[in-house]
Each structure stands twice: as structure tokens, then as C-alpha cells.
Point group: C2
Chain length 454, copies 2
């Protein structure tokens, strides 16, 4: 009765790829005829960025390490801002937990949702995509993949591609004058795994975004002698504790001495380049590859997901992110519905008009809270197109806005604050140990009711 | 008159790729009609491993960093063992220099030879090869490359491929029980750039080959509190100075405590994995990709260079190496002559027989000096096939053999010894500063006659 089943390649089994698998599984449970799914994942487990590894640089198969995760990374936004509408924290943990859990807890949560289903069988682990080509004649994509343990390569045809490989994995490392003379510990944030060895050292984080803020704070927490954060455009402006200060851009490095553009200098033992990440899709030809800056509404993506130059190819999670997990869901449900023919794809010119409208709006934003509201509006628009469980996005925005105020109020203490779930109404409970004193980021420690002393 | 010019793709402009360019240039100068050469190089300059970068992990374009070079790397074999027969150290420096020069001096030397020619125009810098496919029907290869600064991708046809991308760039990092609990400085030798920051720290190098030997020595030289080197099969066995000792394999890591298989433990602040490198050719389909261990005579390569499964594809420098630069020359001249039709490629079965003979010989070797003689014999065989300037390989072997004895005699002082050039008869002169006291590896410092104090 049916034509030949369509085939969909999902590139990556991180939070976005997992959302795409879950979206199709949810439709299949309701009886939909879904395409054949193949999810390619170069790591040996799912979770993407949340799949911590001690390795840096290249992994055991010689592939670039995907995850930028470090020991003692705790969420930097309240979990109430990223909760799944179809799988709540209450459902997973069966009790209230704190608002800012560590990496292991968040990995457990996103993993838990998929463990309720049978989608793991669609994932080819330790399999990397080497190349994607669009064959105009057949309207299909050829995907070349390599099974890393065996080295076997294969070419396969797909009707659709979902690029879910993320964009916080490939470091952007600018040249700094004299950096090659620096004799100390030097790495990009991507390769940072923990600040324990920075005790009693003078640390410089170059940058003023999330990585600089949190890695600088890690260094402070672990007993660095001093922490300096260097900004290019404007300081983060938090009420930093004693020993933590902001400086303008680095002008030059000469051995262990760093000179800033305001003429001040500092002795430095450690430099962490918190200078952001690149959009990088080495497996895509140029006409399919997203490029450019990390932004809330990248050029060339209709509704932030459909590749305008070839609408059979989609990107998930390619935006800068406030809402993360629930935004990936909103995107994945919409992409699913486009592929299933449930949602209608407008004409090219209508899509162009839509992109232009969203980008114009985006470019008018100046404040963090405006950016947050913009992303909320974007997610609301997506959710309205699908059967993803509706939720009060304005309330989620309010959670984030409170969190921003609390962070301004106490940069080293904000993770001890609690918020109320928009999905369940449950109030978070404080973690048993203040963040600044907690040196163990394991699930076991987090969930134990009466911890042993530090 | 001529058929369409053949096209040759050389993958990599390191010492091997540079040798291949030089080999063709040398023939062209003598009037030969050479193929169209395209050398793809992902770095922005030539020199491969010798092109030092402060970067680790991924480079500014998000590609894996090629070079494993570090500050204060000085040759670990005498330069008299790797001298070009057609471009001597005397010719380049116009005066005698020491036997163990630093990286900058060796880069200058290999660079200098090519600066005498016009081959740089054949190199496409910052251009990475993404894929190579053999098209059986036409007998040609399709090479997909990407110009990294622009992201432009191109597919081109070639008649021959020379893989000269090296095999000391992609780390082999085994799992070690508990390594994820280690809170200190941890990296593979590939990402090591200098030991200055290890001063007063307890350092462990895991491994017992060249990287462990030299990085351990760097740590000692730079004032580490202690250095331990951990071997799997047998110790290096040098007369290490006080504070430097060898231990058997690591059994388990628990925080900063390392337990060895002999039951001893040690506190460690720094771990460098000197656990070798992988053959890794992500741009090749499995039937063209060399794999396996680092050996003096890899499986599947006739005369160590011709890919047996497709003799239009060649590998340079794919062996474990004693002779390096002059061996790459011998290989490059021979590959050139095969491509030019000057040398005759035996039948597949004859090639198989030859491979089996060399491998049987190789497998009978037990001592380092035997391995060295084996490689000398291999190089002699290649040179006899071509017009590469003949030289006294037995004398080169004797230089290495003396160097091995001198190293046994004084592991921290062997680089201060001098040997005589086989090519020119020139005796090396000692460097103005003993290696253990020399903290500057620049060309300027090396060449200055009367150095300032340390």
C-alpha cells in the first residue's frame, strides 16, 4: 500500500538528536507511520555535550572530542527553565530536587526520558559521518559514515537529514600577540576539565560570556590565588569576590606577563581561552553548511530549523540558547511534522520573508531579558504548530528573569536559590551543600539525603 | 604530442610531502616532463610536524592540530643521521653546527632546501582533504578538499595519490582505570607544549618510548619535583638522574594517587600519556587506509610505499623511523620514478613476495641496532632504484650506533656530543650551551656566537 519507507538520518545523539528520536517515537506510539530512522553518534553513549569525558583534543579513535563538559559543572540556568513538557523532573526523580543540578543529574534526566522508549536501537554509536552529498537527480542525500572501531565505511541514501551535532564543540581561538611565548598552562575552555590544579595559581580567563564566568568561578572556588577575566566589549559586571577582577582585552603576552589594553599588566600562570565556539560541519559541502556567529536566529534557517537552500535538510539547536531542552523539543516536533507531512512548508519566498522578519526583530534587541523573551516567542511559535504539550512559556521567562537578578545579586551563591516548576508547580528544594563548598558532582552524592562531611 | 598531463595529489606538506615535491622538481630541472602537482596542506605553512604551534586539540579552523612539537624540543638523534644527500647542513648554514639542533633549526634546514626551488606554488595551504574515492571505471581518484578560510569545497580528479600526512599526529590514549578521577594536569604527549609549568610538581609520563624519554627529561630539566616513567613491557633503562625513576605499568588511578602493578604508589600532579600515535586517515575509505601498529615495515606496502591494494596510491614516511629526512627522500625519488615510468612496478604476486620477505626479516629483529640496520638496508634498496645521490649508509648507521651508546652513557648529556657528517666529512661543533642549561630553542639564539647569560 505504502510507497517505499522514507529514510531519515539524524546526525548526533546529544540533547537535540535525542529530542528528534523522542518526537518520532511519540508519533509512532500514536500510530503514525514514521520514516526509517538512523541516528549517527561518534561517541559511545548518548548525551552529546552532557556525556562527560576526561579526554581532551582527540578521542580514543582519533576523532575530535565532542564534549566541552568539565568536572564540577553545575547548570548555570535553573532547571525550571529547561524542563521537558512531556517528562518532568518530578517524574524522573520522584521527589523535588534543587534548581541547579550538576552535569551527572542532567545527563540522567535526559537519558531517563529515552529509556522509557525503544529508540536506542536507532542509534549507531561510535559511528562518525564523514560526508553528506545531495544528489539532485534523485532528490536524496548520500551519507558516508565510518564505524570507528572497525574502520568500515559505508555510503547510504537518505531522504532527509537532521543536523544535530551541536555548535559548542569546536573552539574559536583567536591569535593573541605573543601567546606563543606563554610558558604556563594554556587551553581553550573546550579542553578545560577542572580547576583543582589551579590552586594557588594566577588564572586568566579570556572572554566575558558563560565559559569565562563559570570557569573563572571554578578557579576561584578551587583556590586560585587570583582570577582575572578579560572582556573585549563590556565586563560581565558581577559583584565578584575578593581576588576576582575584570580587565579589558589582552593586548600582548610576554612570557608570564599579560598586558591589557588599559596599560595594566598581570602575572599569570594559567590562561583559559573562553573565546567561544565555531559552527563547524566538516561532513557538509559548503552549500549545506551553516556558518557565522552564535546567534539567537542564524541566517538561512526558516523557523530556525529548515535549511533554506535545501529544505530537506534541518538543523536542531543551532541557536544560541536560553531554553535548551524544551526548545530542542519544540524544534524536533516541528521538523517531525514537516517530514510526516503534517505541517505545511511555505514557499521559498514566504520562508525568506519569515526569516527576514525574525532577524529584524532579533537585531533590534539590546538587553538579556529581551533576548530571552525573543527566544520564548520563537519557541511558542513552534509549539503552536505541533502537538507538543503546551506550557506557560511566559512563566518560564519569569523563572529565568528571576535567576538573572539572583545572579547579579550573588554570583557565587545564585546556584543555592530555588524556583518553582512551570510544568508541575513543584518548588525546588535546596541542595544539601552550598555550591561554593560542594566539590563532588556525582549523581550519588547529589541524591544522598545526609551527606558525609566534605 | 603528449597525452593529457597526469595529475598527482600529494596529501601533506611536511617532510615527506616536501621530499616528494623536491623529487619531482629535481627531475623537472633535468628536463623531465612531470605531472601536474597539487599538494594539499591544512596548516598555513610547510614543515608538518616541525611547524610548531602553541595551539592544542583543534586549530583556528577547528581542524585537529597536526604537530606534536613542543618548546625546547631538540633533535633526539644526531643530525648526521638524517642529513639530505642533496642538500647538506654545511650548504644551508655555511658553517659547522652542533649534532643535536633544536626544532627551529631543523625546520629552517628542510625549509631552506625547498626555498632553492619554486615548488611552493604547488602547495594549497589551509586546504584540507575531506575525502578520496577511487573510480574504477576511469582508474582515477576523486579528491574532495576544503579551503578552510573560505569553506569552499571542491572535487577534483587525480591519477595518483601520495599520502604524506604522517602518523605521529593522532594520539593513541588507552583507558586507565580511574583516570577520570585524576584532578591534576593531564594530556597526551601530542598536546604537550612545554614543561615550564611542571616546576616543583610530581610528574608521571606513561610510556617507555621516545616521547616518555624526552618529555620526562623536559620535566626534569624544567625543575619538576619528581619524574616517574611507567613502562608496560620493559624499562628504558637509562642512568636517570636523582628524582627520575622508572616504574612498571599503572594499575589504577585514584585522585592524585597512582598505583603501579608492582604495588607501589605515588602522588602525582601531572600525567602525560606518552602512549604513541594512531595511523589515521579519515579522508580515505577503508580499502585505501593503512592501519595497524607503528612498525619498520607496515603490512600492505610494497617497498614500504606502494599501496598493494591499489598501486596508484602511495604512502611516504609510514614507517617507524630512524633515518627520517633522507629516508623520505629515498621513498619520494622511488615513487616519482614509478609515476614517471622510469621504474618498473613488479606484478602483484612479485610484490606480495617482496613484502613477505621484508616482513619476515623485520620480524626476526630483536635489538635496536638491528632495527637500525634493517632500515638502512631498506633505504639502500630504494636508493639503488633511482638517481638520488648515493651515500655511505653504513657510515650513517655507525653514527646512530655511537649516538645510542652515548645516550646510554649520559641521558641528560648526550645532546652535547658531536659526530661527523657522512655527506661532507664535517665534524659537528658543540652548541655554546649545554643542553641541560639551554632554555631557548630559537634559531637566533642557536646561531649567535657569543650568547648572553642564561
Amino acid at each position: 500500500m505504502n510507497a517505499k519507507k522514507k529514510r531519515l538520518a539524524i546526525l548526533g545523539a546529544g540533547p537535540s538528536g535525542m529530542a528528534q528520536l523522542r518526537a518520532f517515537e511519540s508519533a509512532a506510539r500514536q500510530g503514525a507511520d514514521i520514516p526509517e530512522l538512523v541516528c549517527f553518534e561518534k561517541q559511545s553513549n548518548w548525551g552529546g555535550q552532557w556525556n562527560y569525558t576526561w579526554r581532551t583534543g582527540l578521542d580514543k579513535h582519533g576523532e575530535p572530542v565532542h564534549s566541552s563538559m568539565y568536572r564540577n559543572l553545575w547548570s548555570n540556568g535553573p532547571k525550571e527553565g529547561l524542563e521537558f513538557a512531556d517528562y518532568t523532573f518530578d517524574r524522573h526523580f520522584e521527589r523535588p530536587i534543587s534548581s541547579y543540578p550538576p552535569r551527572s543529574v542532567l545527563w540522567d534526566y535526559i537519558s531517563g526520558r529515552l529509556q522509557q522508549s525503544d529508540v536506542r536501537k536507532f542509534i549507531r554509536f561510535e559511528t562518525v559521518v564523514r560526508g553528506v552529498d545531495f544528489v539532485r537527480e534523485s532528490g536524496q542525500f548520500v551519507v558516508r559514515s565510518e564505524h570507528l572501531p572497525s574502520g568500515e565505511t559505508a555510503d547510504e541514501l537518505f531522504d532527509h537529514i537532521v543536523v544535530a551535532s551541536g555548535h559548542f564543540s569546536v573552539p574559536n581561538s583567536p591569535e593573541i600577540l605573543g601567546i606563543e611565548t606563554f610558558p604556563g598552562i594554556l587551553m581553550h575552555a573546550h579542553d578545560f576539565r577542572g580547576a583543582e590544579s589551579f590552586r594557588n595559581l594566577d588564572v586568566l580567563v579570556v572572554g566575558s560570556s558563560y565559559s569565562a564566568e563559570d570557569i573563572g568561578s571554578q578557579a576561584y572556588k578551587m583556590g586560585a590565588k587570583s582570577v582575572k577575566a578579560s572582556y573585549r566589549t563590556k565586563p560581565m559586571g558581577y559583584a565578584w569576590p575578593k581576588g576576582f577582577e575584570e580587565r579589558p582585552a589582552v593586548k600582548q603576552i610576554n612570557g608570564s606577563t599579560v598586558r591589557f589594553v588599559d596599560g595594566t599588566t598581570a602575572h599569570v600562570d594559567v590562561i583559559i581561552l573562553c573565546t567561544g565556539y565555531l559552527h563547524k560541519y566538516p561532513f557538509l559541502p559548503q552549500n549545506l553548511a551553516l556558518s557565522g556567529a552564535n546567534t539567537l536566529f542564524p541566517e538561512g534557517l526558516y523557523r530556525g530549523v529548515v535549511w533554506q537552500r535545501n529544505p530537506a535538510l534541518f538543523y536542531l539547536g543551532a541557536q544560541d540558547q536560553w531554553l535548551t531542552f524544551n526548545m530542542f523539543d519544540a524544534q524536533a516536533w516541528y521538523v517531525r511534522d514537516l517530514i510526516l507531512g503534517r505541517a505545511h512548508l511555505p514557499s521559498e519566498s514566504d520562508r525568506n520573508e519569515s526569516i527576514a522578519k525574525w532577524r529584524a526583530h532579533f537585531e533590534s534587541l539590546t538587553e538579556a531579558v529581551e533576548a530571552l523573551r525573543f527566544q520564548a516567542e520563537y519557541v511558542r511559535d513552534l509549539i503552536q504548530q505541533t502537538d507538543y504539550p503546551d506550557f506557560d512559556i511566559d512563566a518560564v521567562v519569569e523563572v529565568f528573569a528571576s535567576a538573572l537578578r539572583d545572579k547579579k545579586d550573588d554570583i557565587m551563591g545564585y546556584r543555592d536559590r530555588s524556583y518553582r516548576s512551570v510544568m508541575t508547580g513543584t518548588m525546588a528544594v535546596p541542595h544539601h551543600t552550598p555550591w561554593i563548598e560542594e566539590h563532588d558532582d556525582s549523581l550519588e552524592r547529589y541524591l544522598c539525603a545526609v551527606p558525609d562531611g566534605l
